[in-house]
């Protein structure tokens, strides 16, 4: 079944609102095994909306429309779409009763009542979180048209509670995707390594870039989730065997989620000492709900005095090697480890830029140390030509620290030389 989405609303074309409805609907459709071929946004303009709807119902089997069902005069979706589909609008009494009940009134304004006028013979989706009902009906072209309210807080529950079950009746296949997450190899080289696997029909394989990382999406279509998974598995195994330790997860979306769960499994704790990342690593760890079990404390030691006072970095080390050095990173990791009594300590020091670089210590030079109390490993990140943003250097340094912890906990070479 081929589908498209038309979102209606001038606010989307002014950039005042990000169109999240499309992503919400698209995910639901892909879960149903329905192929979404196009999505479009049209402003509150009858002419352009009519043209978009006519094109859609002439080429697709399913058209989902979001927005423009509300009470205001610029809500044109229903009138326009019904006209394109050759349907009249008629009052749907149960919907009007719900609206009256919603406002706890005997009577509502014409604008409010307008929301209860629906295409003749349509299937109605009640709105449990607002006033405008959704509906489904078939155009003369044979295209099934589904209309949903624009506010995500109304659209999302209506979609999952009523529309998906309604559409599921028609379906006999599901689509399942798995994401293989990779750290330490970029999208382009990974894509090249997988080139011979990219042409598959079922499962399909597609590479995606992610800030400082990349991932491969394996997608299969089958009668059941189990069968789709069975189709994906061999390809996932092949990817893993080609990329080895560079694969950090399947379907765990971030390094921080993975690291927190590994620490929990192994009953270990981690403490952080950050200079150039300025708290970003701690922030990412604590983005994960429940991280308090494995992360008790971190220090952001921007100034040398702070490094000495909080982490007991040797004054002489700072004099001899400078704050941005392997030695300082090492002492930061070992210092926070002792200070916190945690099982693992991370130290990060470097130059995030854009200011502060020198020929000897350029922007992007960052040392990352991991200590377990017995051994300390240090990774040096050197800028290789590329001019990157401060945010990028900081993000990648935090990611690299997380990857070192992941490798340590998985018994792999910590600094990634494999």
């Amino acid at each position: 079944m081929n589908a498209e989405i038309i979102s209606v609303g001038t606010e989307l074309l002014l950039g005042q609102v990000v169109n999240t409805d499309t992503a919400i609907v698209a995910q639901a459709l892909s879960g149903l095994g329905i192929n979404l071929l196009y999505s479009a946004v049209v402003g509150d303009n009858v002419e352009r909306l009519r043209h978009a709807v006519e094109t859609a119902i002439s080429r697709s089997e399913l058209l989902i429309m979001t927005g423009g069902l509300g009470p205001t005069t610029d809500d044109l979706t229903k009138e326009t779409t019904a006209a394109c589909a050759g349907k009249k609008l008629q009052l749907h009494q149960p919907s009007l009763d719900r609206i009256l009940n919603y406002f706890n009134e005997k009577k509502v304004s014409e604008n409010q009542e307008k929301q209860a006028w629906l295409p003749e013979g349509c299937h109605v989706f009640q709105n449990d979180n607002g006033t405008a009902p959704g509906c489904a009906f078939t155009a003369q072209t044979g295209c099934l048209i589904v209309m949903l309210p624009g506010p995500p807080s109304e659209l999302t529950p209506m979609l999952h509670n009523y529309v998906v079950p309604y559409l599921q009746k028609g379906q006999e296949s599901v689509i399942v995707s798995h994401n293989v997450h990779i750290y330490g190899r970029g999208e382009a080289p990974v894509a090249q390594m997988m080139d011979d696997l990219m042409d598959g029909e079922n499962p399909t394989l597609a590479p995606y870039a992610k800030e400082g990382e990349c991932y491969l999406r394996v997608t299969a279509k089958a009668a059941t989730v189990e069968e789709a998974d069975a189709l994906c598995q061999p390809l996932i195994d092949e990817i893993k065997s080609r990329l080895g330790n560079f694969v950090y997860s399947v379907d765990v979306e971030t390094l921080e989620e993975l690291v927190v769960s590994l620490l929990k499994e192994q009953g270990k704790t981690l403490a952080t000492a950050e200079s150039c990342t300025g708290g970003l690593l701690a922030k990412r760890l604590t983005d994960v709900s429940g991280s308090s079990a494995v992360f008790h404390m971190g220090c952001v030691t921007y100034a040398n005095e702070a490094k000495e006072m909080l982490l007991h970095v040797d004054h002489q080390t700072l004099l001899d090697h400078g704050a941005v050095s392997e030695e300082t990173a090492r002492e930061m990791a070992e210092g926070i480890l002792r200070r916190s009594g945690s099982d693992l300590g991370i130290g990060i020091t470097g130059i995030a830029g854009p200011e502060g670089g020198t020929p000897e210590k350029p922007v992007g030079l960052i040392y990352i140390a991991l200590s377990d109390g017995e051994r300390t490993w240090v990774t040096k990140r050197s800028p290789i030509g590329r001019t990157k943003s401060r945010a990028w250097h900081r993000h990648c340094a935090a990611s690299q620290a997380l990857d070192m912890v992941r490798r340590y906990l998985c018994g792999m070479p910590v600094t990634g030389e494999d």
Copy 2:
């Protein structure tokens, strides 16, 4: 000038990625006074992409395309669009040099080189944050086509630094926008307060929501920047007089940028002690380049022991009032102030959720303290009905802390009761 956007990428049709590029481009176009009439998403499919491009260039004067410029084989935008526009691709040596330089290599793979092949005679927009350049060229239909990379971190700076000035040249008048940033009042009430100012033609006024904040964009069209600014100023003054201390800046985009610059001006330093925000406040402060002058250290004290050890929070205080209490926040702020010798100390403790809430101390309850060594102010954030995400609670708590510092440094009531 009538425009449309085509975003390319199957990931957008699978709903795995929300299409933020469209909103970013749409805002820039509306700032230029260009009417965006349609936006569409097409998957990585030559046939459908060709059809969408042909439709667009036949009806619009400007087509902006985002995504699909990368190195992988499913990046089809350039080849397909150039063909529709009747252009050949040719190697753009400066772009190849930038790619070589980016990877610090003498030679790159065919995939990487592919990115330097651009439509003949196009205007090139260099990519300062990635490898794929953008470009602009005119189709035989007369439609101006602009192609931009998909990753927002690459698209956004390219758009603002190169594309907007390029498009501005085409216009005989300039359009100038100023953003009035507001903290402590939501978009809806602000829009209501400004209702009578919204109908203006030149300058125009539009409200935008931003995570936990909002801003008003004042836009004027004139022959010169000076004239446009002169048109904006009275409206900006009126907004300020209506919102008073809730306006934190005009054109300074974030609270952290403002706070760092205020601290620099006043030669003051700030230290942070964070529990539930877990380093987010320190991270946001150190997002600002040069923040090392005013921010020397911060502590992330997730565990009670860490609060006692690093901040000298009284053991009895934690027993009597709990970690999430006004008293603990106060002692955290005063503790980090003494510990760091900074002029100002911030303490944040609360329940970010989704777990950990109780009837007495629900998710979203967060105490934020600011101390200057003589006085300590505490703000209590209480969950307001609707359930918000962990990320939202953390972000808003950090923003509130920054706003308290801003108010202190500006001599306003610190806790915002004005």
